[in-house]
């Protein structure tokens, strides 16, 4: 078990990060080449200022019509993504790994806050799940890829909760948490989690078209 764990936080982690970084770079690069080759009539209208304006607006909770008309989902979405990013970067266990891998000392979240965020993220995922099953529109358009993405995104939080609540063998649970986190990393470039890579571009493009050409807010 200990060997497995050592591998998981050692070579496997390096591998997961490598796949994530190289895979992401390759996806973005190849998509950009495709756009340049076939869609100059869209690329030519990219506008940094309007793009950033749109990103900022949509990163503000309830600042857009879509967020306003879907309040619960908005809450869950922001709660989940904020928790995900904070925990991924600053959970205490992760801080140790940053130091272990790069020798960098990183600020860590207080354990109670981390616990709370983990619970919030898990509850958000539960809401996504319930909504995917109960909302007729979402159910109608859900594909296996959407379930896979949701499952992948949820697992690290559930396993983290299990570790913290000392359910089952702590080492096994930690191992599962590490593996699920690595699965997320590897999956980002190749599953629907790739929205993490592409949304800045789709958002900025929509912001550019609406700002510079359509002279109209896109929120």
């Amino acid at each position: 078990m200990q060997t497995f764990y050592t591998i998981a936080v050692g070579p496997l982690a390096w591998f997961a990060w490598a796949v994530f970084l190289v895979g992401s770079a390759w996806r973005i690069f190849s998509m950009a080449s495709l756009a340049k080759n076939k869609e100059m009539a869209a690329v030519a209208y990219f506008d940094t200022a309007y793009g950033m304006r749109s990103i900022a607006r949509w990163m503000t909770p309830f600042a857009t019509l879509g967020w306003q008309k879907n309040p619960v989902l908005t809450f869950a979405t922001f709660a989940f993504h904020i928790s995900f990013i904070l925990l991924a970067l600053f959970a205490q266990g992760h801080a140790i790994l940053w130091e272990y891998a790069f020798g960098m000392r990183v600020w860590a979240l207080p354990p109670q806050v981390a616990s709370a965020l983990t619970i919030i993220a898990t509850l958000s995922c539960a809401y996504f799940l319930v909504r995917r099953l109960s909302n007729s529109t979402v159910r109608f358009v859900s594909t296996p890829g959407d379930w896979l993405a949701l499952g992948l995104a949820t697992l690290p939080f559930i396993t983290a909760l299990l570790v913290r609540q000392s359910v089952g063998d702590p080492l096994l649970m930690t191992l599962l948490h590490v593996l699920s986190g690595e699965a997320v990393l590897v999956a980002i470039p190749f599953t629907r989690l790739s929205h993490a890579l592409f949304v800045p571009f789709t958002r900025a493009y929509m912001g550019s078209e609406f700002g510079a050409v359509r002279h109209c807010p896109d929120w």
């Binding site: 076939k38 100059m40 009539a41 030519a44």
Partner: protein
Amino acid sequence: MKNSGSQPASFASEWDWEKGKKTVVASVLPKDPEAWQEELYVSPDGTHMAAVVRLEDDSFTLRVNDGQWEQSFEKAWMPRFAPDGRLTALVMEDDQWTVAVDGTPWEERFDFIWNTMFGGQSQIYASIQSDMQYGMCKEGEPWAELHDNATDFSLSPTGKNSAAVVQVVPLKQADLETFAKGAYTVAVNGTAWEQTFVNAWTPVFNCLGEEQVAAQVRLNEFEYTIAVNGTPWPTTYNCVWAPSFDPLGSAVAAPFRKGGRWGMAVDGAEFWKPTYYQCWNQQWSFDAKKLWAIVAPEYGKFTVACNNTPWNALFPVVTDLVLSPQGTRAAALASHKNEEFRVVVDGVAWNDAWDMAYPPVFSPNGQHVAALVRKKDTMTVFIDNKPVGQTFTKAWQPAFSPDSSSLLLRGVQNGALVRCVLPLNELF
């Protein structure tokens, strides 16, 4: 847009090329300021001006210099001077239309007439409709055969022949089936090609002035090609633009679109690879050694290419490509959003930018380029990047003398129509 190049030398050689400025009409305004006078037109040699005037409610005629046509009409519009100086207008009498030439209407009458055109030898053509049948007439004589509709009228370079896209099969309302089988073709002097097409556009004549015609045709919802005398090229394209004949033979060049980019095809074979974001208005040099076109090597950036080599300077919009008579030089207009017009000669833009510019004109020897330009309400002419020193409130295209020694300006100065002949050696 047609190349407006230089005027046919045969007419210009008879013009008055004596140096100096002459007042043609002391006041272009009507004597009675309340009188109805429409916009001015000026003869190619600058010796006559014309405008539609309204005598009373349903009575119109043409003012010519300080006189007017004797006869008046229920309606008169589209006054145009032919290259040989004859004044034409489209006129109506008793609900019938015809062309009046220097005040005398043709004997032939039509249910409607429009789109006056002039052949290379100053033949007068117009588009006509009689009993809901469409075609063209030449000096009053209609095509022997008229059709359900006619569009895209065109003349041969000598002006002896005319062509148009015609509808040869009647279409019922929302008649998709007949349309798909092909209801359109090209008629040359009224006689339609045997083949029909889903659509046809822009018939053009062989430069040698024979009855050989090429046109864009659409074979089905999404395949386009060029047809020559009714026979389509075996290759089809995603889109094509107007073809043009090699001036020395019968090869036909046309821009085509493939994979989202434009190239040039000759006789159905790829001539320029499709790499451009746009490619159109191609023109051959007289010796067929050079093929020029307006191209966009990058998205949103246009220029002129000669034999597939674009000029270095790129502009948001390029129009009005004009070749020197020798075909070795070219000039065009560049602009941005219909402003900041620049004259670009051989790939180099003149220093100034204007609110509007007109197609550049080459001297017959190909050494000089003149262009009519406007800034705010003032028009002037630049030659080889330098102003000629005369300004006008309204002016028309300048013209070079056949020996390339003088430049003729026509315009309104202080309310008077003047014509000005400037010897080039005094300008430089």
